[in-house]
Amino acid sequence: MESIMYLLHGLTEVLTPFNLLIVVLGSLLGTLVGVLPGLGPTSAIAILLPMTTILDPAQGIMMMAGIYYGSMYGGSTTAILMNIPGEASSVPTTLDGYPMAKLGRGGAALGVAAIGSFIAGIIGLIGLVLFAPILADQALKFGPPEYFTLMLIALLILFNLTGYSFAKSMIMGLFGFLISLVGIGISSGMPRFNFGVGALTGGFEMISVIIGLFAITEVLKGLEEKRVSIKHEKIKNAYPNKADMKMSLFPILRGSLLGFILGILPGVSATITSFLSYDLEKKVSKNPEKFGKGAIEGVAGPESANNATSSGGFIPLLALGIPASPPLAILLAALMIYGLTPGPVLFEQNSQLVWTVIASMFVGNIILLILNLPLIGLWAKLTEVPFGILGPLILMVSVLGAYSVRNSMFDVIVAIIFGILGYLFHKYQWPIIPFVLCLVLGPKMESSFIQSLEISSGNLLIFFQRPISLTLLLLAGVLMIISIFLMKRTKKRIMQETGGQMEF
């Protein structure tokens, strides 16, 4: 009940003209970047993050949340109309969305995707309102050993779930840690890994690395694929009819619940839940032979699961400070830039801000639904922007964005170098997700580890002796087994549908 009161108070804050404008702008900007072929939520947030830094923390985060949701909505447009999934989680949407577009029913598919995403987003947010404060309350009992154990478990499960070899995921995660260690040491204040280079003493700016890995890399990938503006399928009717909605209702509800419940578990990404939802719909359907040829249930289920998982990911992010996916890792980095530390204390110390942001997510989802259905034609038109203009524009915005975070040319060079590295990682199938998550969580993990060992006078058994820490470790064992099963299953499905390996 208390949560609802806070939420209502948050709503009154959001519904002021300027805040509303911020949410609308965020949602529109996110959709705008999300519809550009090849760019997904992670690239959208990375590119647009520097532009939110002039705002207050609450408004900046509201805008980021709008960008996150908007880019996910936008991603489904390219998946359905052009058969180009922005991220692996949109692959199941292409399976029936594109055939629907070819049959002239692209509008119905986009409409159902938007409605499904809206319902899933709202279900996810209700879960966030109900569970996040409870989890945050429990997490207040956590000390540094519990935090360290929790982060370690989340990372280990994620290493297992990237879709590539465990050794490669582990190396990439460790490389992320290594990069996060560059700069001033937390205990002695001595510079680490600077090798006498002054610029390295300040460490690597997280946002520059992320801009390089996601935005500059994406342009290089586009240049290699010789991306041209692909003619998308024509949209005849922009709204789904009654029969479409009737057929989609249960898939949307099933996908939302499946996506949300599994999405809370560490390491279960939107790719896993969207594939599971697609397969579930095919299994329960009376006409499974329709799947792959334009079944609307094949769009409604996975799109809902995708959005519900992404909303569910906000629970561990806000309550524990642990991001479940790269876009959420960037949001975590953004919160840190604004001087906020996500975790249980955030609910205690900045409760007004947290609830305003959560309320803005409800409003953002409604705005996206209102704007997206009538604007489907315009978004579809945007997918035709030629890469010859888009590529240079992304590169220049990346360079200027990387500079604007700390006003440092060193950060720009870092972004370009990580852009090249990101391309090579993609080319030789080295997963980027463990790198990004370890880069963001690195400093937090190090401080929890050192504090734990200071409490125990250097006894490593502290991680096994405290009841909560031990329970977390036991739970991790069970989750690890589930994650191995899910990883193998999703890997097989991606192989079947795309004919290759993909990071998820």
Binding site: I171, L174, F175, M190, R192, F193, P392, L393, F449
Partner: protein
């Protein structure tokens, strides 16, 4: 005689071992500043260094499946465009220090749009002026980013 190249995964494994060793060396350098063996700025570099060496070692001796398609790096004009695009970003970093935001951004835009998009010069120049002005308004007027000599030179 066929020359046998080291696979990209093995190169990655070797780099991982080198980075691991580097991290261990840094940990040893920092050790005197710490309190105990497991509580200090040297602890994480040491741990990560050891784990990088182990993970690199595992990958080095991991059997690679023969079915895997070998990635091929782009060649010819595609490779040229990719190198030139990245190269022009590095040059842009230098140019902006000397001639300020407006002209350096416009020149880089014109060059990249011409190279990547293969448009006519006049079109490239027009689009570049529009984009440079738009980014000027966004980053300098709105975000107030202090770029080197950020005032318009006219």
């Amino acid at each position: 005689m066929q020359i046998k190249f080291i696979s990209p995964d093995r190169i990655g494994a070797i780099i991982s071992i080198i980075l691991g060793c580097l991290s261990i060396v840094e940990s040893i350098r920092l050790y005197p500043y710490g309190n105990k063996i497991l509580t200090g700025d040297h602890t994480f570099p040491g741990l990560i260094g050891v784990l990088l060496v182990i993970a690199g070692g595992i990958l080095l001796f991991e059997r690679t499946s023969k079915e895997k398609t070998k990635p091929v790096l782009p060649r010819g004009r595609t490779a040229f465009i990719m190198i030139v695009s990245i190269g022009s970003l590095f040059i842009y970093c230098l140019l902006i220090e000397y001639i300020g935001y407006f002209f350096s951004t416009m020149i880089t835009f014109i060059y990249m749009i011409k190279i990547i998009g293969n448009y006519r010069w006049i079109f490239s120049i027009l689009i570049s002026v529009v984009l440079t002005t738009a980014l000027y308004l966004l980053f300098i007027v709105l975000l107030k980013t202090p770029f080197p000599s950020n005032n318009l030179p006219f």
